[in-house]
């Protein structure tokens, strides 16, 4: 089953890699997505993440089974749908990745700097992506339910909204340049209108996702990092306030809609 999925994923990657085909495929992506529904290659990462969750690792040689993702130690079911949230123990608003990083530090003794200063798809960040896949997999079909009542959540939401409209960089773009109108496209790629609840839910609720164009599994931190790259800003720091603020803004606006985790994307 593993092998078959990988083969399918690689095949899809190759087919989409040629630019001419790419455009056509992209326009028919819904069909393509339906085709993949029974075998989202992200499932491989979910399985790997589940194993990792239960594996004793790090200087403290501990598992993550006592990690509190917001619903109590060890509760994974439904946790992703309620993130980001304010955590009293850390006195911080944390998204899923930041929370996992916190648990890895506290329980396993893994230095967060390894993740913050690392690279996507490599080392501890790669492990983290598998853990993310596992955790969101346990919120499949759940409705986004982010609690905005804590003052720090309110502030993060407001900061995220401001950041969303914050024009900067070599091309004067803000997130809003690409994501504030209905039915717009960059080339053939559809852009969700994140200023509306449906668009925010579509954007927030379909990442992390498996990307068929490059056969990679990307978390939301990775997605945002790449949007900032396209926006021509400097490089956002992993788990920095701006990434949390934008996440709270999108998740909060998308509240109540069903998430599609983990997604399948071009």
């Amino acid at each position: 089953m593993r092998k078959q999925l990988i083969a399918a994923a690689i095949g899809a990657g190759v087919a989409l890699a040629s630019p001419a085909v790419f455009a056509q495929q992209d326009l028919n992506f819904d069909e393509y997505r339906a085709m993949l529904e029974d075998g989202n290659p992200a499932e491989l990462y979910e399985m790997e993440g589940e194993e990792l969750w239960k594996t004793a690792r790090g200087p403290k040689n501990a598992t993550l089974e006592q990690c509190d993702l917001g619903l109590g130690p060890g509760v994974v079911q439904g946790a992703a749908a309620q993130l980001p949230r304010y955590f009293a123990d850390a006195d911080k608003v944390q998204d899923l990745e930041t929370r996992l990083m916190y648990c890895m530090e506290k329980q396993q003794g893994i230095d967060p700097a390894e993740i913050v200063n690392g690279k996507f798809l490599q080392g501890e960040r790669r492990q983290m992506a598998a853990l993310v896949a596992y955790v969101v997999g346990q919120s499949k079909g759940e409705k986004i339910a982010v609690d905005l009542s804590h003052p720090k959540m309110k502030e993060m939401y407001a900061l995220g909204e401001q950041a969303f409209y914050y024009r900067t960089g070599a091309m004067d773009f803000a997130c809003s340049s690409c994501h504030s109108q209905d039915g717009k496209r960059i080339r053939a790629t559809q852009l969700p209108n994140i200023t509306k609840p449906e668009g925010a839910a579509a954007g927030w609720g379909s990442w992390p996702a498996y990307r068929v164009s490059n056969s990679q599994f990307w978390t939301m931190q990775h997605r945002l990092w790449d949007c900032f790259r396209q926006q021509r800003t400097a490089e956002p720091i992993f788990a920095s306030d701006v990434t949390i603020a934008l996440s709270v803004f999108m998740a909060g606006k998308g509240n109540g809609a069903e998430a599609q985790w983990p997604g399948v994307k071009r």
Binding site: A23, Q24, D26, L27, E155, A158, L159, E161, Q162, A163, Y165, Y166, R167, T168, G169, A170, M171, D172, F173, A174, S176, S177, C178, S180, Q181, G183, K184, R185, I186, R187, A188, T195, R229, Q230, R232, T233, A234, E235, P236, I237, S240, D241, V242, T243, A245
Partner: protein, 225 residues
């Protein structure tokens, strides 16, 4: 419809004014910046603004050509960072300042570029990210936002369609100058335009802009077929 037409004519005369003022550069200096300046009609408390600015700096690090300078806003970026654009007077003031930055071709050659080169520049969305090595030789990314060649199916829709550009709008001096100005600094005509400032922002060189102009105006260009 009428107002759109009026606006367009106003824009065109603005372009010509800009042209006349070219070289003197006194125009923005004359425009006095009123004290209350740009009020951000943001839905958020004012005391959040310093926090936002601080976050937009502290959450980033320099990487390659993408330095932390990119996190600081200039006047236009600052004024256009909320869901509602500034009042008409502020817009006009900003546009006048942007207009003064436009460099018109020194030899009067607006459209004599090579449309085939222009096509490549229009199609390429590369350049200026932290993974790009040099700030030269960037694409214009026009197809990310505009339809241009009617035979190209993979075109973005953030900007208006430019299909048949010269066929539909003609090649009068006004249209040509306006287009050059728009490519050099789109914010001179609409301070909060989503279109990048290609010339002013150092995205495209003068020669590259001339190639893109040829792509829009050359009768042989696929844009005009």
């Amino acid at each position: 419809m009428n107002s759109a037409f009026a606006l367009r004519s106003a824009l065109l005369s603005a372009a010509i004014v800009g042209l006349a003022a070219c070289g003197k550069k006194e125009e923005p200096a004359k425009v006095e910046a009123p004290a209350p300046a740009v009020q951000a009609p943001a839905p958020v408390a004012d005391d959040l603004q310093p926090k936002v600015e601080e976050m937009m700096l502290a959450s980033f690090k320099a990487n390659g050509i993408a330095s932390l300078d990119r996190q600081k806003q200039d006047a236009v970026q600052k004024a256009c960072s909320s869901p509602t654009q500034p009042d008409a007077e502020t817009m006009k003031r900003l546009e006048a300042a942007e207009m003064a930055t436009i460099q018109w071709p020194s030899d009067g050659n607006y459209t004599g570029g090579d449309w085939k080169e222009g096509q490549k520049i229009a199609a390429s969305g590369r350049g200026l990210t932290w993974t790009d090595k040099t700030p030269d030789n960037n694409g214009g990314g026009c197809y990310n936002c505009h339809a241009m060649d009617p035979n190209e199916v993979s075109e973005g829709t953030i900007g208006v369609s430019l299909e048949g550009y010269a066929k539909l709008r003609g090649t009068s001096e006004e249209v040509i100058k306006y287009t050059w100005g728009k490519l050099w600094n789109a914010k001179a005509y609409n301070a909060c335009s989503d279109m990048p400032r290609n010339g002013y922002g150092g995205i495209l060189t003068e020669a590259q802009i001339r190639h893109v102009m040829a792509y829009l105006f050359d009768p042989q260009s696929p844009v005009n077929q």
